[in-house]
């Protein structure tokens, strides 16, 4: 093809499909090679390709709230290092929300700049939850952390590889700072492998089609994302919609959303100040909540790139829980982010009840058990989110026992594998026996699980939506609350929502019940 000619639409399609395939392949590699169950089983993982400037091009399967993380991480890496200092053979690592990490210290981003004939044409990046990055408690997520320093090793967007060579001291610092160094090392290499494989694919793609065609295909792709977003926006009612919602801890959150023909503005200013507890999120994290509801309403397909979110604007105020500054901790940022997502969802569901389901259990319900396997003596860390009920819609009942709206391609750990790997007993695992969430259409059922300990272990967990129940829509009833309890062999029982480092002994049971979804319409 003549180089000067504009790229034909079919070549553009071929290049775009190959970039999606590359991100998918990264995901497949990571899933198969990771050491931590939370990566290979729960798939608390995201993979993506960006252009040379960090604009999101494609993302692999995984969880939707990680789709918007990698571009922000790459952009911050470019900011910090300057594009001149980024060279072929480099690879970067960050986990710090103040250095492009977006989420919390457990989520480690590895990003590789892809050079073809000397030009920086892409980044291949992944983010994955590591079991332990040090800090005050096993699993690194303490509900009692008051500063980010207590949450583990901070990796401030530094080089992991330089000139194609591993920067050994960084590997050594990482291994030394983790309670589970072999896991950290295994997960790290899995992410490196994922980036490298996509790098190869992109290099080949540019060789075959040329840099010019590659660049035009990307720009066509971003334009399509934008057009999809705008087309969806036109189907929404214009106006300003506001909400205030009380949280479990009594705090009052607020948001207002203004929809016009070409703009979707989420205003989060005026919210509570940043706290010395691990429930803060970076501004980037809050933006992701807004992206989620924007995408669900404008273009709920898997098609997503930088263009998809061009019509979205998010206003935050530095120093608030949605825009943490200083050294505030982030360990449980994901409960704040999902509460925000759920609040924005409720705000718009009231405005358009036919377009959105009623509220869901909407918590990660992260449950961490760290202990020693009673049969093998090996140390383990179980990190499990829980499933729960989804809200009913205008057309049908809600879904039973699904992972939260922040999750996606997330799989529960089979009972048979959990019992072998952790040496505990699963007493039961069933749909919750409760009829909360009634409506013209009823909310889906939550989950009930019982973990019975055979050895000693420490329990940490964080369940929001524990006091203020799941919201119904159009007169549908509320779906109840999430929570767990520790029950001892003598029958005593402590009900909890958040816990850190609770010592469990053989015979103790962790009893989990997650909420049903909200009902839709009067019962």
């Amino acid at each position: 093809m003549d180089d000067a000619a504009e790229i034909d639409p079919f070549t553009a399609s071929v290049i775009q499909a190959s970039l999606v395939a590359a991100a998918d392949e990264m995901f497949a590699v990571l899933r198969k090679t990771a050491m931590s169950p939370i990566i290979y089983e729960v798939l608390d993982v995201g993979t993506g390709v960006t252009d040379g400037d960090g604009n999101l091009v494609s993302s692999g399967a995984g969880i939707p709230t990680f789709v918007g993380v990698l571009d922000k991480a790459v952009q911050r890496i470019i900011d910090i290092h300057g594009s001149d200092a980024i060279r072929p053979g480099d690879m970067f690592i960050t986990n710090d929300p103040y250095y492009g990490g977006v989420t919390h210290l457990n989520d480690v981003v590895i990003a590789l700049p892809v050079f073809v004939d000397g030009s920086l044409l892409a980044w291949t990046a992944s983010i994955a939850h590591w079991n332990d990055v040090g800090g005050r408690v096993a699993g690194s997520m303490s509900t009692e952390a008051t500063e980010i320093f207590q949450e583990g090793l901070r990796l401030p967007a530094i080089k992991l590889f330089e000139d194609g060579e591993a920067v050994r001291p960084v590997f050594e610092i990482i291994a030394t700072n983790s309670r589970l160094p072999e896991f950290a090392n295994g997960d790290l290499w899995a992410q490196v492998a994922a980036s490298r494989i996509a790098e190869k694919r992109i290099g080949h793609l540019v060789q075959v089609h040329g840099e010019k065609a590659y660049r035009s295909a990307l720009s066509a792709l971003f334009n399509e994302g934008q057009r999809r977003g705008l087309a969806g926006l036109k189907t929404l009612p214009e106006g300003t919609f506001s909400i205030e919602e009380e949280q479990d801890d009594g705090a009052l959150w607020r948001a207002s959303i203004t929809i016009s023909k070409d703009r979707f503005t989420v205003d989060l200013r005026g919210n509570p100040k940043v706290r010395d507890e691990p429930y803060n999120t970076s501004r980037d994290g809050a933006v992701i909540s807004a992206q989620m509801i924007f995408k669900a309403l404008t273009d709920p397909t898997l098609f997503a790139n930088a263009g998809s979110f061009r019509a979205l604007e998010v206003l935050t105020e530095p120093g608030t829980v949605f825009h943490a500054t200083g050294t505030a901790p982030h360990g449980y940022y994901f409960e704040t982010r999902i509460r925000l997502y759920d609040m924005l969802w409720q705000c718009l569901a009231r405005a358009m009840p036919e377009r959105l389901p009623a509220g869901s259990f909407a918590s990660i319900c992260g449950t961490v058990l760290a202990g020693e396997h009673p049969d093998t003596g090996r140390r383990y860390t179980m990190v499990e989110p829980q499933m729960g009920g989804w809200g009913a819609t205008a057309e049908r009942d809600g879904l039973d026992a699904m992972y939260s709206c922040s999750h996606g391609e997330t799989y529960n750990c089979p009972v048979e594998i959990a019992e072998a790997r952790y040496g505990l007993e699963v007493g039961y695992k069933s749909l919750r026996d409760s009829d909360e969430g009634k409506g013209q259409h009823s909310g889906g059922k939550g989950l009930s699980v019982c973990y019975r300990m055979r050895g000693n272990a420490l329990l940490s967990a964080g369940y929001s939506r524990n006091r203020v129940p799941v919201w119904g829509l159009e007169g549908g009833e509320n779906g109840g609350t999430n929570g767990f309890a520790v029950q001892h062999p003598d029958g005593t029982r402590e009900d909890r929502a958040f816990a850190s480092g609770v010592a469990l002994k053989p015979g103790d049971e962790v009893l989990i019940d997650t909420a049903n979804g909200g009902g839709w319409g009067k019962p």
């Binding site: 079919f10 290499w189 999750h407 749909l431």
Partner: protein, 690 residues
């Protein structure tokens, strides 16, 4: 009768039932006949008997009959199975409904979770519990069983599935429950999970048992009618049934666990490709089967197909689907065949498939009212397919309809008709290239080291362009490409794949347990084969181990060297694992290795076909030339091309592209700069030029 042998394969597809018949005389010379007749739902066996008659095959003279059928997959996807009751461990009846909790279409808040095949009121529990090591923790209490079965009867349940937690490690509770069911409810269709698989993961195993029960009465009825129909027409053997693991199995055995037939259609084609590779000395093959609605591909390394138990139906990028934990050939299937519809989305982008025009209305050129352009219409427009020899001359191509369908796509895209038709072929090709990458590059294999074997009605039309894209240097189109699956069936062995989960550290002292597990499984296989009249000394085995670095989840399968597993050889096995792992994932770790389970392949030959090479005639293919026309090769441009008559091409003939070979069942597109020759078995080998 002397030593003349007749072998027949019949394959029931969605639209047609195919027959291939090989007759080999006492001198080893063979003749081949094919026939096709309509598939006849719901009495599929009638179509088989019809096609035998149409092909002039006297069942009384048939020595070996292999049969493949879509009856199981159809019953599943059309929800035509029976009402199933499930019995499971106390506390776990919802496992089937909870499933894995995933939502692949993750931005979509209106996602629909796949509904379980057994509703909650038909899922019942029994007390009794095993540990992960197979020790009994709580004894089985069958006192509730009579009540459960009475309830099932009252609800009209026709089949019972049983799955208990950790039954893969110790099946005794399932066995006892099954025995009691047979006593309390004689004649009811019942299956327990350990009969199908000995691997862990309770949701997958439960769902597998449920789906097997769901199709069991239907498959059993079908197979017994087929058997009776064949016998009444004089067949005095027993048909062999094609399995998803590329082997055949006895009718009796398949009737008990019919779910193993679920992907038998594609399996026979891929097995055929592996067997063809042995014949023509091509051990490394990318096999591609393009039919009317889908394209399927699989990779064959060093003559070995790969069998896995990670198979799902109705799973795609937007739906979680349903797992079936049975041995299935490792394949990737995409909705891209000759009938796939080309469409332009709201944002002006062209897509091909996965929707298909099917057999009715079919491509626009069928003239049966189809208005939408399909890949076939684009191939006609570009004169790759001869409009005067459409479907082997059986259909008059309705070119007005085809042109107007293409024109409509072109209008939406704002391009010329020619550009639109080329675009459809390019997008379809790209979909297939990505599928071929999934089975090669994504598994750590470089497609340039492989030969592409293309079959099915549409394989040969796209193969050379796909090869060029992937850097593959050679394409082989087998003789009878459109009925190649049936040929593959005739080459199959009686084969069973056993997967058993058993954790073991790969350390000093572990060998004894591993060897015992293999030996025990081999004894079990020999006994099963012997019960079906196979001499146990004729059974051969392949041993695979499933390994991983300690703490990982996913395993890498490694073929173990011949001979008993001993401590002295563990290092050798571990080295093989490191090597295989590094090829696939680019790195290796200095970490302990553990075994998660074994995969044992047991097989025995049951009279497979021997192919005889034919002598080469002259190299000049002029005698087969029937016309010339200008053909559009999309990216390779338009060229005046020689058209060859497929049946007139003889062993030894050679010709160069640009050229087209027209066979009644398929069209071979030989792009410019490539050259072709016919081998001693009638296969066409195409070498790609630079």
């Amino acid at each position: 009768m002397a030593s003349s042998t007749t072998r027949v394969a019949t394959d029931v597809g969605g639209t047609f039932t195919d027959l291939v018949c090989f007759e080999t005389d006492e001198n080893g010379a063979s003749t081949v006949r094919t026939a096709k007749s309509d598939t006849t739902p719901p009495d599929f066996e009638q179509g088989v008997l019809n096609v035998l008659e149409k092909g002039n095959v006297d069942p009384g003279n048939v020595n070996f009959l292999a049969h493949g059928t879509t009856v199981v997959i159809n019953a599943l996807t059309e929800r035509k199975g029976v009402k199933v009751g499930l019995i499971t461990t106390e506390g776990f009846r919802d496992i089937l409904e909870i499933a894995r909790g995933n939502r692949p279409d993750f931005f979509n808040l209106h996602y629909k979770k796949p509904e379980p095949f057994v509703p909650r009121y038909l899922r019942r529990e029994l007390p009794g519990r095993m540990t992960y090591r197979g020790e009994e923790m709580t004894p089985l209490d069958l006192s509730g069983l009579p009540g459960i079965l009475e309830g099932f009867k009252a609800e009209g349940v026709e089949a019972v599935a049983v799955c208990f937690i950790h039954s893969y490690a110790n099946p005794s509770h399932e066995q006892a429950t099954l025995a009691e069911i047979e006593k309390l409810w004689p004649g009811v269709s019942a299956v327990s999970s350990h009969q199908i698989t000995r691997e862990w993961r309770e949701y997958e195993r439960t769902n597998t048992a449920v789906l097997s029960a769901y199709v069991q009465p239907i498959a059993e009825r079908y197979l017994s009618r087929l058997n009776d129909g064949l016998a009444s027409r004089g067949f005095n053997g027993s048909p062999y049934i094609m399995q998803s693991n590329c082997g055949v199995d006895s009718l009796e055995s398949v009737s008990r666990i019919p779910i193993t037939m679920v992907e038998s259609g594609p399996a026979s084609g891929f097995w055929g490709a592996a067997e063809l590779g042995k014949l023509i000395d091509e051990p490394n093959i990318l096999a591609l089967d393009i039919g009317g609605t889908t394209a399927k591909c699989s990779l064959i390394e060093n003559g070995q197909i790969k069998i896995m138990t990670d198979y799902w139906i109705e799973k795609d990028r937007t739906s979680a689907g349903y797992p079936i934990m049975v041995p299935v050939v490792d394949l990737v299937e995409i909705g891209n065949g000759g009938g796939s519809i080309a469409w332009v989305d709201d944002f002006g982008k062209l897509h091909v498939g996965p929707q298909s025009a099917g057999a009715l209305p079919g491509p626009a050129a069928y003239g049966k009212g189809g208005k939408e352009a399909t890949t076939t219409d684009a191939n006609l427009y570009l004169r790759r397919i001869n409009k005067n020899y459409f479907c082997g001359g059986e259909i008059d191509a309705d070119m007005d309809a085809a042109n107007s369908a293409i024109s409509s796509v072109a209008g939406k895209l704002g391009v010329s008709e020619q550009e639109a038709a080329r675009g459809i072929v390019r997008i379809a090709n790209n979909n297939m290239v990505n599928a071929l990458k999934l089975v090669s590059l994504n598994r750590g294999f470089d497609p340039r080291d492989f030969t592409l074997v293309a079959f099915g009605g549409g394989g040969a039309m796209h193969a050379v362009a796909l090869a060029a894209e992937l850097g593959v240097k050679k394409v082989v189109v087998p003789a009878g490409a459109s009925v190649f699956s049936a040929w593959g069936m005739m080459m199959s062995d009686l084969r069973r794949d056993f997967f058993v989960t058993r954790l073991a550290d790969l350390a000093e002292g572990a060998a004894k347990g591993i060897e015992a597990l293999f030996a025990e499984t081999e004894d079990q296989a020999r006994a099963q084969f012997e019960a079906e009249g196979i001499d146990p000394t004729k059974v051969s085995f392949l041993r695979f181990g499933k390994f991983r670095y300690q703490n990982q989840e996913h395993t890498t399968e490694v073929l173990l060297p011949d001979g008993a597993v001993s401590d002295a050889r563990l290092a050798e096995i571990e080295a093989l694992f490191h090597e295989t792992y590094e090829r696939e994932y680019t790195y290796r770790l200095d970490a302990p290795v553990e075994m998660v389970g074994i995969h044992l392949v047991a097989s025995a030959e049951v009279g497979k076909l021997t192919m005889a090479a034919q002598p080469f005639g002259e190299a000049d293919a002029g005698a087969a030339q029937k016309a010339t026309r200008v053909v559009d090769y999309a990216l390779d441009g338009e060229h005046e091309s020689i058209i060859y008559d497929g049946p007139s091409l003889k062993p030894g003939m050679e010709f160069a592209g640009p050229a087209i070979v027209e066979d009644p069942g398929t069209t071979i597109v030989v792009n410019p700069r490539s050259s072709a020759r016919v081998d001693a078995y009638g296969n066409v080998h195409i070498e790609l030029g630079e």
